[in-house]
């Protein structure tokens, strides 16, 4: 944001430059979105439709370093790590998408209700958000997952339930800012109804924030899912999940099978990094103030 303010003085307007900068950004965001979308879809399709024999164990091929036949090498049970990782990534993505969608929805509802109702409702929501944010994330994830006995359901529930507070705060603040903003006051003064104002003023201003927020929840969700799985509370440890793969790779560290940990992790980093960047680009793109200053 601050990078854009190099043009700090009331220069006799540089409108077209702003537009150019914006269209540049837009192009970059679109490219990012396409790349990320392609990767996600490819991983999902490949991972979920992959015939089981691709990631089945083959003891004749165990503990092999990366090669043309096995790009990511094989593990101690002879799984092809590339196929195994792709499948794991697909599972992570499904869980991540679902958890971030649920979290985003919860945040949207709580955030707007809190801002609109105000009073004790607002207090309760804020207090709840405070509460969740004051227990370390990892501990809360453990507790929730523990309370339902672990497993896939536990992971999804834990990740979905712990990620809404920050986005709720953002949405609440934004709705509040707009509702008390001068342009809404002006709209109300010329006789527009609350519903009209909500639809024409609040929604167009909050929606971009919500979308960006939800996109940014996704990488956190998959990171936390893999962490939980890694600790043994998420997906079953024998399933092809990134966390599980890394967890079992740990047992074979001493054998020097570096590829077991490196590649699956890199895949995850790539996806998380792409999503972060995309979310950030969209944020800059849709923030009228960034473009303005």
């Amino acid at each position: 944001m601050a990078e854009l303010t190099a043009f700090h003085a009331p220069v006799a307007k540089a409108e077209k430059a702003k537009v150019a900068r914006t269209s540049n950004r837009r192009r970059r965001a679109i490219v990012l979105a396409v790349v990320l979308g392609a990767i996600l879809v490819a991983a999902l399709v490949a991972g979920l439709t992959m015939p089981p024999e691709f990631y089945a164990s083959d003891f004749s091929q165990k503990q092999q370093a990366p090669s043309a036949a096995h790009w990511f090498g094989t593990d101690f049970l002879g799984h092809d790590m590339f196929c195994f990782s792709v499948r794991g990534l697909a599972l992570s993505i499904v869980i991540g998408l679902f958890a971030s969608a649920v979290s985003g929805f919860v945040a949207l509802v709580l955030g707007s209700v809190s801002a609109v109702c105000g009073g004790w409702v607002d207090k309760v929501v804020l207090w709840l958000a405070d509460l969740l944010m004051s227990i370390p994330h990892m501990v809360m994830l453990l507790l929730i997952s523990f309370s339902v006995g672990g497993g896939t359901f536990g992971v999804v529930l834990a990740v979905a339930l712990t990620h809404w507070p920050s986005l709720t705060r953002v949405i609440r603040a934004e709705v509040l800012r707009i509702r008390t903003g001068e342009f809404v006051a002006a709209s109300r003064a010329v006789g527009k109804s609350d519903l009209w104002i909500a639809w024409h003023h609040v929604v167009p201003n909050v929606l971009p924030q919500f979308i960006v927020g939800t996109i940014l929840l996704f990488p956190h969700a998959i990171l936390h899912e893999s962490a939980l799985t890694f600790l043994g509370f998420g997906l079953p440890l024998d399933s092809p999940a990134i966390g599980a793969i890394l967890s079992s790779s740990m047992k074979y560290l001493a054998t020097g099978a570096w590829w077991l940990a490196l590649f699956p992790g890199l895949m995850m980093v790539a996806i998380v990094l792409l999503t972060f960047t995309l979310g950030d680009e969209i944020k800059q793109l849709t923030d009228p103030h960034t473009v303005q200053e």
Binding site: P136, V148, A227, G265, V269
Partner: protein, 330 residues
Amino acid sequence: MSARSKFIIKNVIRVVTLLFAVSVITFALATMAPIDPVEAYAGSENHLPQEQLDLIAEKWGWDQPPVQRYCNWIGGVLTGDWGVSVIYNRPVIEVVGERFLTSLALMGTAWILSGVLGFVLGIVCGLRQNSWVDRIIKGFCLVLAAAPTFWLALLALMAFSVSLGWFPTGLAAPAGMRAEDVTLAMRLHHLFLPALVLSVTGIAQITLQTREKTIEARLSDYALFARARGETESQFTRRHVLRNIALPAITLQFGSISEIFGGSVLAEQVFSYPGIGNAAVTAALRGDIPLLLGVALVAALFVFVGNMTANIFYGVVDPRIRAGSEAIDG
């Protein structure tokens, strides 16, 4: 001054109510688990007769309704009786205390390292915006923020312990050695790698934020005025940049305690470091509810103290907050 004490009192009240709620939530979650505490205690392999199981349940109060059990537990917590850990068969407060101290060395080192390094790197980036140094550090931070802590820990372990053999592969002290024989050097040797990984993961956030704030200060109106009055860049940095970025950095630093804690749960797991995070995972995996509750409570308290320190610190130090919100009229 009364505004200040009011501010502090308000914060303390907030913390007390929140802590109470945390205890309720953790207790509810832990007791909801489909784990029979009696079985966890007795062990499912040795089939004890029902009467004996009932006796165990009665001894620990597990036959009582949840509300009663909560009251017993919280009463115990307040009087220093946190229950007995099932897996260690020792009072929870002892286990937690010991583990917490071990973790504190790890988290404290990482916290200070990441704070100081992040702050310095952030200023360097901010002052040299868009230079290659800035680009490299920024890119590095983004990658770090995107990488799972436990993965970084694994890579570090592989590279420095397994391949290079510079550091031990786990634990806080050499295995099988009596505690009295362990030297400080040994402890530091064991501490180094986990602390490094943990600080590296914490650096990204503070670097990026400090960078933003530094750039903000450099592009501010007061920067323009300072330059117009003949302040050189280094004078400006010392007089104005540090002053204006220190507060947000310190706030973020205290706020990051929660993340450091979460990170240490993972790092301790990879390095088999016998800290509190490790205890939490073991307790949850093996259904040791009293220990899990104890760990959760300590974790929350720890984060609370951090957040509250940040809040109070900000309120006391920042003259704008100290004076209360200002009226605005054009």
